[in-house]
């Protein structure tokens, strides 16, 4: 039996877990190719026009899986991974959206409710409802999840060493260890972006490579442990309702306080609700902290040039700022 996992949204955070889980249960795991123009166009056609681009792309990937003859498509309903916090409403309604806008996929969806108290979502209770559909015993599910958890832990520990999610996923897929240590560049830039925006090269237009080419090292939220991030938000009276948005905000604060970070780039999708609030908070805070901050808003209209120009200008600016400050320090 083939189980399809769309290469979109939380694929970039939980794929090692889900892949090992289904493989241990004895199924073949199929995923989609990287996002491409055609796939996006297909996704746009079946989505509501105002919805954000990652969801449109997700729909495109589900369509792609339908063409690949899979038996089931895994679309988990992400509820919460912290007590009192949730996912964005679009994640919580994602299975419903897919079910009713892609009628072909209606009977092929595996949609367990995922809720947990930490980022680790391998609690067996989340996956038990799938046992009946897939015809596996609860015991088997439990032992498969144990291995899956290890795989995910390894993925996270590699991430926290400073590798990008994409590098780690590629390494884990091919089985080759990452030998190259992440190099330190002249400039350090903090990227505030959800994994599914940053590592989908179609959405972010390869910004990670663009920055690295210019001898800039980058940091993102998934390179930090969850408790490091949770500590950042302790002073806030009421934190946001969305866990991943909280992570972004937390890492934003971390970047603001970190003297080694020279600038912050916030990459957000057009119409992203949670980001509209985070963006405003960061805009106000970055003035207080005197840290350069830029927002790049992307959607399905892919003009690479605007990104190139804006990133170049931003980098030139902070480069000059840094050179000046080094010179001043030397004179003194």
């Amino acid at each position: 039996m083939k189980i399809g996992i769309p290469k979109a949204l939380l694929y970039y955070y939980y794929y090692p877990l889900w892949k090992v889980l289904f493989e241990e249960l004895g199924f073949e795991v199929v995923t989609t190719k990287n996002t491409a123009k055609e796939l996006v166009n297909k996704g746009i056609k079946i989505s509501v026009s105002d919805i954000c681009v990652p969801i449109k792309i997700f729909n495109g990937h589900v369509l792609e899986l339908l063409e690949q003859d899979v038996d089931y498509i895994f679309v988990p309903r992400m509820m919460n991974i912290r007590k009192g916090e949730y996912f964005c409403p679009k994640f919580m309604g994602l299975p419903d959206m897919v079910k009713y806008s892609l009628t072909d996929a209606k009977d092929m969806l595996l949609t367990p409710n995922i809720s947990s108290n930490s980022d680790d979502i391998s609690d067996v209770r989340n996956y038990l409802p799938m046992c009946g559909i897939l015809g596996v015993s609860a015991f088997k599910m439990r032992s498969a999840l144990k291995k899956a958890r290890l795989s995910w832990k390894e993925y996270r520990s590699l991430s926290t060493k400073g590798y990008t999610a994409k590098e780690v996923l590629d390494a884990m897929e091919s089985g080759i260890d990452i030998k190259k240590e992440p190099e330190g560049g002249f400039l350090n830039i903090g990227l505030m972006a959800y994994v599914y925006n940053l590592y989908d090269e179609f959405i972010s237009m390869g910004i990670v490579d663009r920055l690295r080419e210019r001898n800039i090292s980058i940091q993102t939220f998934e390179m930090f442990n969850e408790n490091v991030l949770d500590n950042q938000l302790k002073g806030m009276k009421k934190v946001l309702f969305w866990t991943f948005s909280n992570k972004l905000l937390a890492v934003g604060y971390k970047f603001l306080k970190d003297v080694n970070i020279d600038g912050i780039i916030h990459i957000t999708a057009f119409g992203c609700g949670p980001d509209s609030l985070i963006g405003k908070i960061m805009e106000l805070e970055s003035i207080d902290y005197k840290k350069p901050f830029m927002t790049i808003r992307v959607d399905e209209h892919m003009g690479e040039n605007h990104l190139q120009t804006r990133v170049e200008a931003f980098i030139d600016m902070i480069y000059r700022k840094k050179v000046m400050s080094i010179k001043e320090a030397n004179i003194v």
């Binding site: 509501v48 105002d50 919580m92 309604g93 299975p95 419903d96 009713y100 949670p274 509209s276 908070i281």
Partner: protein, 363 residues
């Protein structure tokens, strides 16, 4: 302490609550183009529309002298729950020194709620607070009843604007309430006001009924949804909204076993399409569409602020419901582009389609 509140729907009710508790109330002006401009100018660009309007109406209230703002919070997962925090940050940044009292879900923050209640109580006894709440609740109930009637009558009024004038009068009558007896008197008085409206008699099968569903703020506040109820009413359609303030109180503030809210039934009807409560009113929206279809409504207007997170989910699902129940639904995203002609044209075309469909069915 001069108190004000966000402008939404029948504001007499909130005003009465604060007034009876002995506060000096500054009534925020009806949202106008200026309100919209003020809100839009000072809010994040991609924040949802209600956040911008409420900010605008806060600023106008502050200009009139308000020093304290009272509002309800939320428990997520949609952005509405974060309005309080965002508003107070923006207002502080603009240099206003105000006290923003946010009533969050009491289960989330019990101590905070008690503190807020004490501030609002203004030194009155608990018994007096209870009495006041009872008056306001009864008032909300009867005012909503009146409003529902007006929404039906407007389709058949002989003189254009009679219903609006009657509604103004009713609001004035309720504005003078001081105790429970007054509520009863106001009820009788406003009933007679409504009975005075001259209407055309139309045979039952020819009546057209349209439901309005969607996000609570754009559904309830007529000055920002381009007076959609009046547009529909003036074109000869009876209107019913999915949200009324008394129903909101029933569901959100009272224990469920006392109020037995209508909303629970609605949620059950939406269960098939959206399994979990995903924030905002997405599940209620789909539930209400099903409900209207079952009650034989002729069409539904779905309102949402542009890029509203939960309503986008319900918008994605609506085509499936339309197919299943054979009920026409039109979705109108609302934002600061207030082109009235566009909405009017679309609603007119929608009603034409409905009327045609109905004629074919009857024939």
């Amino acid at each position: 302490m001069k108190v004000s509140f966000p402008y939404m729907g029948t504001t007499v009710i909130y005003k009465k609550l604060l007034e009876l508790l002995g506060h000096e109330v500054i009534e925020p002006p009806v949202p106008s183009q200026r309100t919209i401009d003020l809100g839009v100018k000072n809010s994040p660009e991609f924040a949802c529309y209600p956040l911008k309007i409420i900010l605008g109406s806060y600023i106008e209230a502050i200009e009139l002298g308000a020093t304290t703002l009272v509002t309800s919070g939320g428990h997520g997962p949609c952005r509405a729950g974060f309005y309080g925090e965002t508003h107070s940050r923006i207002l502080k940044n603009m240099g206003y020194d105000i006290d923003l009292i946010v009533f969050d879900a009491y289960k989330r923050d019990i101590m905070g709620t008690i503190k807020n209640v004490r501030k609002i109580m203004n030194g009155n006894s608990l018994f007096y607070l209870w009495e006041t709440l009872r008056i306001v609740y009864l008032m909300a109930k009867s005012m909503d009843k009146m409003e529902k009637k007006i929404q039906k009558l407007r389709a058949y009024e002989v003189c254009y604007g009679d219903c609006n004038r009657a509604w103004e009068k009713v609001q004035k009558v309720f504005n003078d309430i001081k105790n429970i007896e007054d509520v009863k008197k106001a009820k009788i008085k406003s009933k007679s006001i409504l009975d005075d409206i001259k209407v055309i008699k139309i045979p039952e099968p020819e009546k057209i009924r349209v439901g309005i569903v969607g996000e609570i703020y754009v559904v309830m506040e007529k000055s920002i949804n381009l007076k959609i109820e009046e547009i529909l009413g003036n074109m000869g359609a009876e209107v019913e909204r999915s949200q009324y303030i008394s129903e909101w109180i029933d569901y959100n503030l009272l224990p469920i076993w006392i109020s037995k809210p209508h909303e629970l039934e609605i949620l059950k009807k939406g269960e098939k399409y959206i399994k979990e409560i995903i924030g905002g009113h997405a599940k209620q929206t789909v539930g209400h569409i099903v409900d209207y279809a079952e009650r034989g409504f002729d069409g539904v207007v779905h309102l949402m602020p542009f890029a509203c997170l939960p309503e986008l989910v319900s918008q994605s699902i609506i085509p499936a419901i339309t197919n299943e129940y054979n009920i026409p639904v039109i979705t109108l995203p609302i934002d600061e582009q207030t082109g009235l002609a566009n909405v009017q044209t679309r609603i007119e075309a929608f009603l034409d389609l409905i009327k045609n469909k109905k004629r074919i069915r009857i024939a």
